[in-house]
Amino acid sequence: MTGPVRGSDVQMTDRWRLHRRRVRVVQMMIGLLVGLAALAGLAAPASADGEAIRVQVKDQQRTADGKTDNQPVPGVTVTVVDATGAEVGSGVTDDKGVVVIPVPGKADYTVRIDESTLPDGKALSEQTPAEQPIAADSFITATRTVNFFTGESQRTETGTAERWLQRLSDGIRLGLIIAMCSVGLSLIFGTTGLTNFAHGEMVTFGAMVAYLFNTMGVHILLATPIAVVAGGLLGYSSDRWGFAKLRARGVGLITQMVITLGISIAAKNFFLWRFGGRNQPYENYTNQVGIEIGPITITPRDLITAILSALVLVAVALTLQYSRLGKATRAVSDNADLASSTGIDSSKVIRLIWIAGGALAALGGVFRGLDEEVSWDLGTILLFLMFAGITLGGLGSAYGALVGGFVIGVLVEMSVLFGVPTELKAAPALVVLILILLVRPQGILGRSQRVG
């Protein structure tokens, strides 16, 4: 009995790393299993032929249901050199991704793989670098098996510039998602003064709806618009039958805020109940091979979601800047009373913000689910980063959420480069938050006002 804590909370903020770590563990296990199987199966024939090094090159893939499905990689040149660096033998992998290179005896060797002969878009995984040393005493039988795995974006990050660019690209993707999710949060605050602690669950909701349709056989390309519409409907009904009624009854903002806390607890646990504590991937575009753009490796899926997010955000910004509705939104957000007195129907604007905010949150949730995997607390984890983002940009400011969310995403990913432990990479967001409040409390784009 340790209070209100469940085991599934344990992984909360490590979710960022979880996926990568799991892939790594799976890789190690596969390596072990394949190695053992090869040893068991090949011990007899190989010992008759004398000593040899058997090299297997496999591409790691996952099927839609998350099982690993390794495909052999043929046509890869492999060279074996001895301790002095002299070439002992070489060969090219066959259709089974296997090449057996005879060696003179049990001694120390180095197995080298020619990375330029790998198929386009494939890279060696971090666990199996291009050169693998073989110790003499590791020949348990006459044949020593060496495995090389390839996969998407498992390339070793070597150069500093390369690491920076890779982190930057990860950060941009996270930043775009945070920005998209926080537009609604910021505008709802700006227009009604309500800090919506259940906004993270609106993000999760989008990811869940898409997942639900996706598992019923609807392709993710269709499931995403469904989720966005559902998110908009959720936003509409939250206001229509929820917060608009509370506002009309004159319920205090603090009470409303506690209500959002309650909704957050209820919704989060509903997701945990119906979805379960495990992460699940969407059924489409799960195993993609990273393409290289300069030094950056990115899967086409991530690239396309990033471009789409950027387009959506530009569209949001343009709408806010030029359309009548956008102008009205900014007016209400700036000063609701003044806006009303100029004839703007502020309750209609608020309704529209809820709809748009819900739809954008849902889209952000689906993108986040594609980026990582879908989990019951996907949005809950993002909520704190969203808060940091909108405070940085200026609470309630229309563009502030876009700018602030983006900056926070980049900052969180880049902080690892400055020696911040990966587990603590969310911490710099808080440091920035506190510094901003000390130096420029209205945020980057917020309007200065008399406080305290």
């Binding site: 340790t2 469940r6 605050f189 309650g262 587990e423 603590l424």
Partner: protein, 336 residues
Amino acid sequence: MDIGFVLTQTVLTFIGFQACYFAIAAIGLNVQFGFTGLLNFGQAAFMAAGAYGMAQTVPIFEISLWWGMFIGIAYALFLGLLMGVPTLRLRADYLAIVTIASAEIVRLVVRSVEFQDTFGATDGLIGYAESFQQVGVDLGLNSTADYGFWIFTFSGRDLWRLIVGWSLVAVFALIVWSLMRSPWGRVLKAIREDEDAVRSLGKSVYSYKLQSLLLGGTIGAFGGMYFAVGQAAVQPDVFSRDLTFFVLTGLVIGGVAKVTGSIIGPMIFWGIYAFLDSLLRELVDKPVRIGDFTLIQSTDIGAVVYMVMGSGLVALMVVRPQGIFGNRKEMAFDGR
């Protein structure tokens, strides 16, 4: 189904260890939230400060457990200043955001591998509470023997920690009750109602708010200290965001700005929790299925109970925002 078991669980949890440390934390939160109108959504961080201050003494610093009180208070004051100094001059929402973020960072720091030698990472800390339990034994409570009557039978260890806990609740309730009747407390309530009016009377609103945050945080830290010695182990994930939310839920059930509310509320919270939890466990002894659709199985019970509690909080806030003992007028502040 054994309804007797369900009711026994409910009654015992109502006066149990969890209700007790929640009540201490809620008394602290009430100073900030109820009386001053400060939106502290990071009470879990203050509780963690107290708990880790206690837990670090013997295993990390190798000093007597009782120094932990000072360490815990120091941690809590540091946290309070960190949260309060940048935000208390600003609109109330900023404090809410900074406290919720700080609490999350505190949890991340104490569970990180980087600080394993200081906070014990995910395993947490153990092996410090012997001197606390020894005091109970010295007072004649045999830790293995049972004391009490009817359903109220406790082991010596349980009884000792309950006596200490409810004594702490009484002490802090008395302190807060008398402070809030003092001129100092009246200024806090005035700040909640109209900050500008208080400022125009020449009071330093910022300073009063900071004092309130620090006092409430320190009481929260005592809740954490009591949790640490009562539990004899601390783990980082106890101090999640949900802990703050549940303390807050307990407080608003009882009624904000009422000392009695902050004590009875957490008891009711845990009573309801225990009732739902043991009731569902009695009902769902095997998975309930409708065709292929699994409605609920025993591993879902925790989530379902919290879902119901969350919905209950929403319903309560809509119907009776002031809670059971509260005054509606004292929950009408806007915090802007």
